[in-house]
């Protein structure tokens, strides 16, 4: 079996204590793998650690423990190792307008990556190819423009072109379409799918939008408070969710027929992770348990194991075992 394009093993990222609050366990033990040519959607709400995890995948954040592996090789954090790594994994951010230097025109923005890595030969061709691949055609029309002259969708394409100019193998996208207009969203998502087909790119897309996962993901991982609570094929997780959190997320989408399970309260912050199952204070299944049910002590007292990266799984004490 070929090594996955990108993998996190037992990854933990903890921020030191600040001002009377404890340490923040932003990522509290994650195994996640993105296979070659695969698109994985990482779904979660704000504060669950998905953005931190995404940045660890591109080497912008050093893990407290655990490791990030690229094609089976563990990532070292010396500046040379990190710089080499950068050529193969690239990051897309949520706000495309803010992600572009207002003083740089499109050509410079796309050429930045190659210039930083010393790829000066054939720079113009590289930029031209990248712009075409990102859908900005004809490239010459865009090269001299500045970010403020472009629409949100075009800006995001420039950011994508800048990533493609380095010929990466994996793209990590943090909410790539959240701040774009609804009608433009489809284009950018289609572009990501096309890049997978034409260039064999793998992608990890971080989002809160389950519809996005339905649109482009092969596999889905759901994250809550620093841990993956469910992962598997997109069809399985989105149509037959097993974890109560996933079920709640899917039930509140407008237009679904299911009774909405509107969880009360908001996710606690990562400095105060509940004991036992971290979801149990808000869990609708836990709340429905009879007070005499012995399983309550499981939920309140026994922590769940970290899910493995290679098999679909669910982290829940109250799961009904699948038939067969």
């Amino acid at each position: 079996m070929t090594a996955p394009a990108l993998e996190a093993r037992d990854l933990c990222i903890t921020y030191p204590p600040r001002q009377g609050r404890g340490p923040a366990h932003a990522v509290d033990g994650v195994n996640l793998a993105v296979g070659v040519g695969e698109i994985v959607a990482l779904i979660g709400e704000s504060g669950c650690g998905k953005s931190t995890l995404a940045r660890a995948f591109v080497g912008l954040v050093r893990p407290t423990s655990g490791e990030v592996c690229y094609q089976g090789t563990t990532l070292g954090y010396s500046s040379k190792a990190v710089k080499r790594f950068r050529r193969y994994t690239q990051l897309l951010l949520q706000d495309p307008g803010g992600a572009l230097n207002p003083k740089q025109n499109v050509f410079d923005a796309v050429a930045e990556g190659p210039r930083l890595h010393g790829l000066r030969a054939g720079l113009a061709e590289r930029v031209e190819t990248a712009l075409s691949q990102a859908g900005l055609r004809p490239p010459a029309q865009f090269a001299a423009r500045y970010p403020y002259e472009l629409s949100g969708g075009q800006q995001q394409r420039v950011v994508i072109a800048g990533a493609l100019a380095l010929e990466p193998s994996v793209i990590v996208a943090d909410e790539p379409v959240a701040s774009l207009d609804a009608s433009v969203r489809g284009e950018i998502l289609r572009l990501i799918l096309d890049l997978r087909t034409s260039l064999g790119l793998s992608a990890l897309v971080v989002s809160h939008d389950l519809g996005l996962a339905w649109n482009i993901a092969d596999r889905v991982a759901v994250m809550y408070l620093g841990r993956i609570v469910e992962q598997g094929r997109a069809e399985d997780v989105l149509l037959r969710p097993r974890h109560p959190y996933t079920q709640a997320l899917l039930s509140v989408l407008p237009g679904t027929d299911a009774d909405p399970v509107v969880l009360r309260g908001e996710p606690p912050d990562p400095t105060a992770i509940p004991a036992g199952c971290r979801f149990h204070p808000r869990c609708q299944r836990f709340a429905a348990l009879d007070t005499t049910d012995g399983r309550r002590t499981l939920c309140t007292g026994q922590a769940l194991a970290i899910l493995p990266a290679d098999a679909p799984d669910v982290a829940c004490h109250l799961i009904e075992q699948p038939h067969g």
Binding site: G186, G211, G255, V262
Partner: protein, 366 residues
Amino acid sequence: MREEPAARAPKALAGGPTTRPLGAVGRDTLAALLEVRDLHVTFRPDVRAVRGVSLSLDAGQTLGVAGESGSGKSTVALSLLRLLPSSAQVSGEILVAGEDVLRMNWGRLRAVRWADASIVFQGAMSALNPVRTIGEQIREPILLHDKVGTRAARERTAALLDAVGVPARRAGAYPHELSGGQRQRVMIAMALACRPNLIVADEPTTALDVIVQAQILQLVTDLVHEAKISMIMISHDLSVLADTCDALAVMYAGRIVEIGDSRAIMAEPRHPYTRALSSAFPAIGDPASRLAPSGLTGDPPDPRRIGPGCPFQPRCAEAFDDCRTRDVELWPAGSGHAACLLVLPDRARSASPTRGNLAQSGEAAS
């Protein structure tokens, strides 16, 4: 006095029947709570943000306004309380309980603002004053409008915070100490402070997570039904609006392009833009959108450069030659109205469009 809406020119929509709940026949004798007639807003020098919007709203009715950036929806919302900058040129009429907001004198306008109609602004972090506690900010309109003492105002504040699900003891907190969901609840509490008849909610859940969004929408729907307040909700998410509102208006390039009962529109959208917008957020489980994101090519039009004909034509998969030159108006379509040449009875749907666009439209799903 007031013209019967039905007596106006039959081709164009002039507010009235389509935004009223189906079957509300006897309503014509009551004055509508809100009536907007032919609103035009132009920002200097040549930005035509709103180009002729008419709609009406009855007491207790909810209207969703959908659109993207540049559609003019936020401008319409702000103009309802005359909150646009003074450099904006506004024409038309906005009648709140029969009085024209655009022509009121300053004193009357201040009385109307917040007491008759209030706004929940977009982006709760910037709409709240960061150096004042939330309790003070909720009390401010109460003290201004209701002319009661501080004690009574504090009690009302506590009741409001309770109603929106924020513990009353947090009235002394500052905005930055609250989470996004809580700040939005505070904004809603502020909007309810003076018991208005109309609330305008501008993208109330856009920056919020899915579950918090569900909580806020549930809260808003409950409060509005309980107190029989009318509501206009603005969003770019059609499905959210369809779930929460009775009527739906879709705006594009400063005009309403489709308007009618929200469920009817979601079931069978008549305007190609509405179709594209509703397919942009796919239904999970729909095999047609699995690994097939659908969207429109191009960008929303620049409000400075709107030419003749239908403004949606450059991006429309079903455009005809006529669409470039013929002016579109809101014509009857199904149970509502749509501004598209396709809905005219003389336009055969089977005629092949002159421009095949590579965007997948919602047609693939139906």
